[in-house]
Amino acid sequence: MLPQSLGSKIALAAGALLLALLPLFASPYYVELGSYALIAAMLALSLQLLVGATGIVSLGHAAFYGLAAYTVYFLTPDGAPRSIFVTLPLAVLASGLLALLVGALSLRTRGFFLLMVTLAFGQMVFFVFHDTKIGGGTDGAFLTRPIIALFDWQLPLTRRQRPIAVYYVALVLLVAMYLFLVMLLRSLFGRVLEGIRVNEHRMAALGYSTYRYKLAAFVVAGMLAGVAGHMWAMHRGFVNPELVGWHRSAEALLMILLGGLGTLHGPILGALAFTGLGEIAQLLTERKLLVEGAVVLFVVLALPQGLSGLRLPRILTRKAEPAGRLEPEPHG
């Protein structure tokens, strides 16, 4: 799950640096696209805590993402903008509470049933926003974007600077989320999640209340999805029911699959690749989804560990890795 070798750590740092440099040479359009990709990466990364780390597959994850975006809307439908230091904690809190409720009920089931129950809860949230007027209904609604301000101080931004600032906020949050999850998975708590993924029945026999641990992971994942959803609101200044729909949840799962189930950075790779792929597909053809689907299918078939399983050719690295090892994760 976590990068072990020095080489992979350097590669990750280099990747982060590359992302940090992007606004210096990319056009405003691509900065906006980059922000979108970073937000998608946060959503996929938050879901990886459940899917890759704990072995829980949820189809309702977008509910926590979307609720955070709607929370920003409820706080500032229009008029005076609020500080990100107000909107972010409240949005994350709202997502966490919803995750606690959904998780408490759905984690009583497992596997396929869990998939269906989370899907049902996600769709319930979807229809609340779709069929009632509380969030602007089907059409969605504009909101006043949160600003970067603390007490009387506010970061002054021109219209041109704003998207770049949003990009960097998203990047900082993504890196922070990644480092937080590294810390979490290395902790005693993370080891329990790993045990649950490998053999939940045995964990229960060892004396773990696996339900409580799974619920804790579910709530944390929901809150992290809230960070992503809040960022969406800050980025687009607009919410609509699609944000909470199951398509969004499925897309995040696809990104994880594309990037790799077995690593923490896989979902980030997957989200960036998926967003880039969508862009290229749109340029080349009118059938964007078809191209996306074909590429994802190809990657999953050709690279069982996803994009994060890609390695430099052996001639370049010289150090041949033995194939077919059983998930070599050094402990201790």
């Binding site: 005693l188 329990v192 773990y208 059983l326």
Partner: protein, 253 residues
């Protein structure tokens, strides 16, 4: 019959019964496990031995009867909590974490009962748990393979790992469900020695098919057939029991 010295009894069942639909897998079983005693449960396939372990470990709920641990009825306590009350079990079919290192398998077992551990602390820095795990591995003779991924260990080693996991939680009562299954003769000998050593600190309930092994290690025995208790007593009494000979021991007596 059972010389149940209730003063030293740590685990007891009274009229324990478990039905699956119309089938009564365990019927009216009363047995006593004393401190410092190895109590073997034997019986042909389908006698209800594994169901009995499931009931004692909390994976199954009794349909009737009581399970008393240290004077308290624990029949309704879920499996994960029973570990904290001091019941440890090993499984008949190897049940480990195959993709994790052997040491981590045992470390997880130790962590499960560690009190007041800060869950956000890096696992690698908690040396106490690692030491507990290493000690348990040493006890079953697996120190040399601590770093190996558990799924790559031999069958017999995995059986020993299973026991190390049970020991790491420092249980008062050990429920061992056919620990010998899949072990070679040498490993079996080693286990015999280990059990004789362990019984000084634990009460052990052993389920086993291998009669030579059982008669070598057991202090007391319960013979089950078709869910009920056929006989209880010391190994010598059981060997001499005509009913048991007819039903089960056959040529062994």
């Amino acid at each position: 019959m059972a010389d149940a010295g209730t003063a030293s009894a740590i685990l007891a069942t009274e009229g324990l019964t478990r039905r699956f639909g119309g089938l009564v897998a365990v019927r009216d079983v009363s047995l006593t496990l004393n401190r410092g005693e190895l109590h073997a449960v034997i019986g042909p396939n389908g006698a209800g031995k594994t169901t009995l372990v499931g009931l004692l470990a909390g994976e199954l709920r009794p349909s009737a009867g009581r399970i008393v641990l240290d004077g308290a009825d624990i029949g309704g306590v879920p499996a994960w909590k029973r570990t904290h009350l001091g019941i440890g079990r090993s499984f008949q079919r190897t049940n480990i974490f195959p993709t994790l290192p052997a040491l981590e398998n045992v470390r997880l077992a130790a962590q499960a009962v560690a009190r007041g551990a800060n869950l956000l602390r890096p696992a690698a820095s908690d040396t106490k748990l690692v030491e507990t795990a290493q000690a348990a591995l040493a006890r079953v003779g697996l120190s040399g393979v601590a770093a190996r991924v558990a799924g790559t260990l031999s069958n017999g080693e995995q059986r020993q790992l299973e026991i190390a996991m049970t020991l790491a939680a420092h249980p008062k009562v050990l429920l061992l469900d056919e620990p010998l299954a899949g072990m070679g003769p040498e490993e079996g000998q080693r286990l015999t020695g280990l059990l004789k050593d362990l019984v000084r600190e634990h009460a052990i309930l052993l389920i086993e098919h291998d009669m030579d092994f059982v008669f070598a290690v057991a202090d007391r025995m319960t013979v089950m057939a078709e869910g009920t208790v056929l006989a209880q007593g010391r190994p010598d009494d059981i060997r001499a029991n005509r009913e048991v000979q007819d039903a089960y021991l056959g040529g062994h007596a």
